[in-house]
């Protein structure tokens, strides 16, 4: 009886199952991979949505303005306006970002402590690519860019984008990308994103244990294709602005 009570107390003290997994490094890699998949789906969706900019105007309003409005109207009339956008897109996305960043910090700390004294002579890497070794830097660049991007085109902070007009997506992005420092920032951030998702889109398979001789050779191809398509799609907008296709 006493033992049973003790066992129950022990169990109550244990963290919930999912938390106990996340506390391990391997569990954090799972969290990295799963939140990474959510973020990859987001960048893919965002990139496809951006292409509306090339459809120009239709009946006096730009197609991309209608698309932006459509995102707010998602789920209507079943749900109140913007509820679906917040509850199913924005909040899960923010959660995925936070998990991804927290796991990255924790894993970096664990990796640093695993080699307190560095090699005193130069290393000669054979397989570790530039992209994989700079994940935390490309990640930081993308994060800083995200802060700018939200202030620039989502919230419309006066200091960041003085010509911001709420709801006029087309006007806002053209006025923003017409300034060359902002244009450069967008292009640099997309290159960093390309490196980041190129490694991530391959790495997630290993972390999740998705490995089979039947499809192993397609994993790298998938990463190449995904990174190329997403970043080419994203870059098409600043390039379009520079070439006056979008103005």
């Amino acid at each position: 009886m006493l033992n049973l009570r003790r066992a129950r107390r022990e169990q109550a003290r244990q963290a919930p199952w999912i938390v106990s997994i996340y506390r391990t490094d391997t569990g954090k890699k799972y969290a990295m991979a799963i939140s990474g998949v959510v973020l990859l789906l987001f960048v893919l969706g965002h990139m496809i949505g951006n292409l509306h900019v090339f459809e120009g105007a239709h009946g006096g309003t730009f197609r991309i303005d209608e698309y932006g409005e459509g995102l707010r109207d998602l789920g209507e009339p079943l749900f109140p306006r913007t509820l679906v956008l917040w509850a199913f897109l924005r909040i899960p996305l923010a959660a995925a970002f936070l998990i991804h960043i927290h796991a990255a910090f924790a894993l970096t700390r664990s990796n640093r402590s695993a080699r307190e004294t560095k090699y005193q002579s130069p290393r000669d890497y054979l397989a570790a690519r530039y992209a994989s070794r700079t994940m935390r830097w490309s990640g930081v660049i993308v994060l800083l860019f995200l802060a700018w991007h939200l202030a620039d085109l989502t919230v419309g902070v006066e200091a960041v984008n003085p010509e911001f007009v709420r709801g006029s997506v087309y006007h806002n992005l053209v006025s923003s990308l017409s300034r060359w420092p902002v244009w450069t920032l967008y292009v640099v951030a997309q290159v960093a994103l390309a490196f980041h998702i190129w490694h991530g889109a391959w790495s997630l398979f290993q972390s999740l244990g998705i490995n089979n001789p039947r499809f192993n050779r397609f994993r790298r191809t998938f990463a190449h294709a995904f990174a190329t398509v997403v970043v080419a799609g994203f870059l098409s907008v600043p390039v379009g602005v520079a070439l006056d296709i979008v103005s």
């Binding site: 169990q11 244990q14 919930p16 199952w17 106990s20 997994i21 391990t24 490094d25 391997t26 569990g27 954090k28 890699k29 799972y30 894993l107 664990s110 990796n111 402590s113 695993a114 080699r115 307190e116 004294t117 560095k118 090699y119 005193q120 002579s121 130069p122 290393r123 000669d124 890497y125 054979l126 397989a127 570790a128 690519r129 994989s132 070794r133 994940m135 490694h199 391959w202 790495s203 398979f205 290993q206 972390s207 999740l208 244990g209 998705i210 490995n211 192993n216």
Partner: protein, 253 residues
């Protein structure tokens, strides 16, 4: 051949280390790397100086004792080769060779180029074995094992535990070693009864000592036995499955 060696010298575990430079003249191209160090040591001893301490045992690439960081690569420039099987013909006359010990917090330096790889033993103790007393060898056809499975398990079992994977990993992670040991037993029928206990304990013991896997893939070309990264994926999958199964068995929330 005439070579210049820059060798890491360290008097003891806590002592301050430094690189020292030695001229190695009259090196034959057919010498192994360790024979070259033997010759340098003989000359040091004759000159009344302390020889360079390095680990070695079988010198035929199977014991996993030797292991040096040579010019920034674990086990030197030749792929799928332990340091003892590396020959001086891989280098050219006049080369400068930089020799460093494995660097990882859990591989503390004992002296010069010798590190303590006891952390690997802790991982094996956690589950790298079959607990059932097996008696004498069973009849070979008693437990059929598919050829592909036997091959995969055998490839994983080739790991000699030299620590090159940890040494080469930018994160100082022990995944390739642990995954090889997990896969070696978890793929075979004999390993099934302890499969979920094994992977959970071995992974969690590994994490007490080593970093995490970022899938750089640096361990694979460093491995003298060519252990594949596929084993790491298998270990990651089995670890999550073990968490689910052991949760059910333990009645956890």
């Amino acid at each position: 051949m005439h070579l210049t060696l820059r060798v890491w010298r360290q008097d003891g575990p806590g002592a301050e280390g430094r690189f020292e430079t030695y001229e190695a003249a009259g090196i034959h191209q057919d010498m192994s790397f360790l024979e070259m160090l033997d010759l340098v040591n003989e000359r040091l001893v004759t000159g009344g100086r302390e020889p360079i301490a390095f680990d070695h045992d079988c010198r035929e690439g199977i014991c996993g004792s030797c292991g040096l960081m040579i010019n920034g690569r674990a086990h030197g420039p030749q792929g799928s080769t332990a340091t003892c099987q590396l020959h001086m013909r891989e280098f050219s006359d006049g080369d400068t060779i930089v020799i460093e010990p494995w660097r990882a917090t859990s591989f503390p330096i004992v002296r010069d180029l010798v590190v303590d790889r006891g952390a690997f033993d802790r991982i094996i103790e956690a589950g790298g074995y079959i607990g059932a007393p097996t008696g004498s060898a069973p009849e070979a056809n008693l437990t059929p094992v598919p050829k592909e499975t036997a091959d995969a398990a055998m490839d994983a079992a080739a790991c000699i535990g030299c620590g090159a994977c940890v040494a080469a990993c930018p994160n100082g992670a022990g995944q390739l070693f642990t995954a090889a040991k997990v896969a070696h037993l978890n793929l075979l029928p004999q390993g099934q009864p302890e499969r979920w206990m094994r992977v959970e304990r071995m992974v969690e013991t590994m994490e007490e000592y080593f970093g995490s896997c970022s899938n750089h893939g640096e361990c694979e070309p460093a491995c003298p036995k060519g252990i594949s990264l596929d084993n790491i994926a298998l270990m990651n999958r089995d670890y999550l499955l073990s968490k689910m199964r052991n949760r059910k068995l333990g009645g956890r929330r």
